[in-house]
């Protein structure tokens, strides 16, 4: 046959698929769904039968006899149980808006991003070889039809590449045209259902041709076979070369595959329109398997009889070709083509959804690209991610096919994929019925199971293909016999598939159980576990969030929905919400739990549960209030310790504050006491002269006969005491003024020489009156200090008056000397009086200190002079001190900082 014809027919077939898909979508839009039908549903499940079934079953039957059966027996056994298991999964998935098997696992275990990522990787790595064998089948069928060796031509002339590209376009066109909140693609499902029918018809027609064309019925065929004992030997259980151990494991693998393969999950769960369709499927699908397998053995026998030297995988095609039935051969090839394409289309779509929702999006969301989402239309971006994923997956599959897959039979590669996917089984089925199962358990089981799978199955194929070193396959990893991939831990009964399945599933399940029992669930995990296990309690979508109360702004919710679902659909959904919940979005600021859950479920439909949770949590404040969480917090002693430490710090701070307050209080009390003291002292100081004045005034008034001398003496006392009062009042006022000036801070540079001279001049008369000799020494340079010259004058006058007062009674002498001492000006005031005893020196600058008469004679001061002087000097950043010894006079030293030269 000419390649052009084959390619033309193939593309015509693809075009037919386009038409069917397009028609189904059109029907769906006008609410006359083709797909909402239990027969279509059951047929779409027929995507299970791939090129592997179509070509490989015959091949396997021709080499291992009944060994082809377990992969159909498994699903047939489990199908009646679908009413329980599959329906439950569907209910959960509809409730949780689950978009893929990876999403299902992630969602079950607290919407774990990590589980989603791992499950996606397992699925992608597990399925790529499987897709690659579909490409291989298509290529092989082309080669047989055209007689051309496609593998020997460069890849750009390889028709498989173009088939892959065409399939990518088809998948992109019908799988990613828009984001459907329910992830339903009616066009695709219709096309797949059609393909299921088509491949069944093609296979049965080839079977009829072989049985009734080449032979005259089953009886004739088996009779002919009887003549060849090596053929009949294959079809008795005991001698088929396949052990019951293998049967068991292969059945088990296929039981899980029929539900957990990404494409099966997609058509069976995600695309399901009505859970009750499962009922029809649970009898119709096994029937389909029976029909498609009826002619496997006849074709295999015929092949062995007619074409013993040809590849048994090709009998379906080569038998018609050999008998020059080109039309039938082309039809048979198209059947194989349909089996392969349906598998590829649905698989890449399911994988692209996983990659987008559970791998790429979480990474984007976590890596702060979220800000970008304000600028970009996120729903468009998501579709872009999926389209790219589809292309990448197909190219990877093509690469695997060119590099490795070509060397293996259809069945063995398919079983490798089955074993990978079976690793989901403990997490999915355990998670479905065992509430205690935890995220960590699922993660541990999945990782270890997948690790063993990778080590025992695909790695050796890569080694055999020469892509990696094969020492580990020959002598075991690290040269440990126990680690030989084909005899792991010393077990070498059964096929490599069986061994890998045994070890990976055993350890996967064990870890899943043991880790689950030894770890605890987060509140979200626990609530998800409850939803999954007791789904029938939660039939209304969104009712699950009673354990977590969340708050978000209405406008944020609307923004997110616009961004991820598109303006139009977001608008429709929100209008629906408003109507059904009687909630006016324009009048509300804060979204209630209903709206948040509504948004999250619909977002989950587009981007997967884990991503939706992430996105919602980016705008919603979680307010976990569950008892479980409270207990968890209580259990976490570390937090308790931290908390108590924080409390301790708090109480320390409180204590400090209290101490500070106490100190402040003490200071206030002290101030109060000082003030009271001051007032008492001042009043006493005032009372004393008043007492004298009053007493003498009364004496003078009442005693007329007092002598003139006495009268004079008494009046002198009255005058003197009056002066004393005046002085005291002035000084109290000075004290007040000092405080006021300090706060006002009147300061300017002035000439200290001038001040000293003026003060000295002012007291000259007094000194002369007292007969005190006085001396003034001023430096040659003018010393400038900054401050208030009046106050400094007051200090000098005060010190000089004291000096005059206390100087020697007979030959009094005072000395005022101004000098420069480093950066300071120094004023020295000295007298030649009795001096001040050392014990008293520390008190003389305090308020109202007056030294006893005995030494000094009764002073004639208020007791405030030195106190005020000290205060003034200190306000000028200076220092005052006294140097004195009893009997040797006293010297008062005042130092004031010189004003620094102007710059």
């Amino acid at each position: 046959m000419k390649p052009g014809i084959v390619i033309f027919i193939s593309f015509t077939y693809v075009a037919l698929l386009f038409l069917i898909a397009y028609y189904a979508e059109k029907r769906a839009k006008s609410n006359k769904s083709l797909v909402n039908n239990s027969f279509i549903y059951a047929l779409s499940m027929g995507v299970y039968c791939t090129a592997w079934t179509y070509y490989g079953s015959v091949g396997r039957a021709a080499t291992t006899g009944l060994g082809f059966l377990p992969v159909y027996i498994g699903p047939a056994i489990i199908a009646p149980l679908w009413w329980l298991v599959m329906r439950k999964i569907i209910y959960i998935s509809k409730n949780q808006r689950i978009t893929s098997i990876a999403d299902f696992i992630s969602s079950r275990f607290g919407k774990s991003t990590w589980l989603g990522v791992i499950a996606t990787l397992v699925a992608v790595l597990g399925i790529i070889p499987y897709i690659s064998i579909q490409l291989k089948a298509i290529t092989t069928s082309f080669e047989l039809l055209t007689g051309r060796d496609d593998l020997s031509v460069p890849f750009y002339m390889d028709s498989a590449l173009y088939i892959a590209i065409a399939l990518a376009i088809f998948s992109i066109f019908f799988g990613t045209r828009n984001l459907d909140p329910n992830e339903r693609h009616e066009g695709l499902v219709a096309a797949v259902a059609f393909e299921s029918l088509f491949k069944l018809a093609a296979f049965v027609i080839v079977g009829i041709f072989v049985t009734f064309g080449l032979f005259s019925g089953f009886g004739d065929l088996f009779q002919k076979a009887q003549e060849h004992p090596e053929i009949t030997r294959l079809f008795t259980l005991e001698t088929s070369g396949i052990t019951s151990w293998d049967w068991f494991w292969l059945s088990l693998l296929s039981m899980s595959a029929i539900m957990l393969l990404p494409r099966q999950f997609h058509v069976g769960v995600v695309e399901n329109t009505n859970p009750d369709h499962v009922g029809t499927a649970s009898w119709l699908f096994p029937l389909y398997l029976v029909v498609i397998n009826i002619f496997v053995i006849p074709i295999a026998i015929a092949g062995l009889l007619y074409l013993p030297n040809m590849e048994s995988d090709h009998y379906v095609l080569s038998l018609p070709l050999y008998n020059h039935q080109n039309g039938l051969a082309l039809f048979a090839a198209l059947g194989g083509f349909s089996a392969a394409t349906s598998m590829v289309i649905i698989s890449v779509l399911a994988l692209s959804i996983m990659i987008g929702n559970n791998l790429v999006l979480p990474i984007l969301l976590r890596s702060n690209v979220l800000e970008d989402t304000v600028r970009y239309n996120m729903s468009g971006r998501l579709l872009g991610i999926r389209r790219v994923s589809i292309v990448v997956v197909l190219l990877l599959a093509y690469a695997y096919f060119r590099g490795v897959g070509n060397q293996y039979s259809l069945v063995s590669v398919g079983l490798i994929s089955f074993t990978a996917i079976a690793q989901f089984a403990p997490a999915v089925f355990g998670g479905l019925y065992w509430k205690r199962a935890t995220k960590k358990g699922a993660l541990a089981g999945l990782l270890v199971g997948f690790g063993i799978w990778a080590y025992t199955l695909p790695l050796p194929t890569l080694a055999e293909a020469g892509l990696i070193s094969d020492t580990f396959t020959k002598s075991g990893l690290f040269h440990l016999e126990l680690l030989k991939p084909d005899a792991l831990f010393g077990l070498n009964t059964g096929s490599p598939i069986t061994q890998a399945a045994f070890w990976s599933l055993l350890l996967n399940t064990m870890l899943f159980v043991v880790v689950s029992l030894n770890t605890s669930q987060s509140p979200l995990e626990a609530s998800q576990a409850d939803i999954f296990v007791n789904i029938y309690k939660y039939r209304t979508p969104g009712a699950e969030y009673e354990v977590v109360r969340r708050q978000a702004k209405v406008k944020d919710i609307i923004m997110l929905m616009n961004r991820f679902l598109g303006q139009q659909r977001a608008h429709l959904l929100l209008r629906y919400f408003e109507q059904s919940k009687h909630f006016d979005l324009s009048k509300q600021q804060i979204a209630n739990a209903d709206l948040i859950n509504y948004a999250e479920t619909h977002l989950a439909g587009s981007i997967g549960a884990a991503s939706a949770k992430l996105i919602i949590s980016s705008i919603a404040k979680d307010d976990p209030i569950s008892l479980e969480e409270m207990f968890k917090i209580l259990e976490q002693t570390k937090e308790m310790v931290e908390y108590s430490q924080a409390l301790e710090i708090k109480s320390d701070e409180l204590e400090k504050t209290t101490q500070q307050l106490q100190k402040a209080n003490e200071q206030l009390k002290e101030l109060d006491r000082l003030k009271a003291d001051f007032i008492t002292t001042v009043t006493h100081e005032l009372r004393t002269p008043i007492t004298s004045i009053k007493a003498f005034a009364a004496i003078l008034q009442q005693n007329e006969g007092i002598s003139e001398t006495q009268k004079k003496e008494f009046l002198q006392i009255v005058v003197h005491e009056s002066e004393r009062i005046t002085r005291l009042i002035n000084q109290v006022l000075d004290l007040e003024k000092l405080g006021a000036q300090a706060s006002k801070g009147i300061r300017y540079p002035f000439d200290l020489n001038e001040v000293c001279k003026n003060a000295f001049q002012g007291l000259k008369q007094l000194m002369e009156d007292r007969g005190v000799t006085a001396q003034l020494n001023l430096p040659d340079n003018i010393l400038q200090v900054e401050g208030n010259p009046d106050q400094i004058t007051q200090v000098i006058v005060n010190l000089l008056s004291n000096a005059i007062k206390f100087s020697d009674e007979k030959a009094g002498a005072v000395h005022l000397c101004l000098s420069k001492e480093g950066k300071n000006a120094q004023i020295e005031v000295s007298d030649n009086g009795k001096g001040i005893p050392e014990k008293d020196q520390q008190f003389i600058f305090e308020k109202f200190t007056q030294l006893s008469d005995k030494i000094m004679g009764k002073p004639k001061g208020s007791g405030l002079g030195l106190f005020i002087s000290k205060a003034i000097v200190e306000q000028h950043h200076g220092h005052i001190q006294v140097i004195s010894k009893a009997g040797e006079g006293a010297t008062f030293l005042v130092t004031l900082p010189l004003e620094s030269p102007q710059e």
């Binding site: 009043t683 004393t688 004298s692 004496i699 008494f714 007056q850 008469d853 009764k858």
Partner: protein, 129 residues
């Protein structure tokens, strides 16, 4: 008791007040002694055993209360009457005065006649018995 046989000891650190009191009390007919300090007052007590002591409270070195306590601690002065004459005039100060052995507490600035009347009353109404 005869005024002329009665000795009054005046104790105050203010010389002018001593002068005023001395003038008033001498004129009334008493014998007057003066002291500017507590220690000096106690010496005069020993020498002259005055019947009445007019005692200031706030004095340097030894205050009036201490002087009073020292007087009261000596049995020889049992009959001596102490009149405090202080610028401190709160109730607390008065109670302090009585507690330290004073019989009468007067405050400054004083009324001349009140001081004389008090001394006279102490003498006339036999507060000594």
């Amino acid at each position: 008791m005869d005024k002329h046989e009665t000795t009054v000891l005046l104790v105050d650190d203010e010389p002018n007040i001593l002068i005023a009191l001395e003038f008033l009390i001498q004129k009334e007919g008493y014998r007057v002694l003066k002291a500017q300090q507590g220690a000096e007052a106690l010496q005069l007590m020993q020498l002259h055993q005055p019947e009445i002591v007019v005692l200031d409270v706030m004095m340097p070195e030894m205050d009036g209360f201490e002087v009073a306590r020292k007087i009261r601690s000596n049995e020889a002065f049992d009959k001596t009457r102490i009149i405090f004459l202080s610028a401190k005039g709160t109730q607390k100060d008065r109670l302090n005065g009585y507690a330290n052995g004073g019989e009468i507490y007067l405050t400054k600035p004083f009324d001349n006649q009140e001081v004389l009347n008090t001394i006279n009353e102490v003498v006339e109404f036999g507060l000594f018995e």
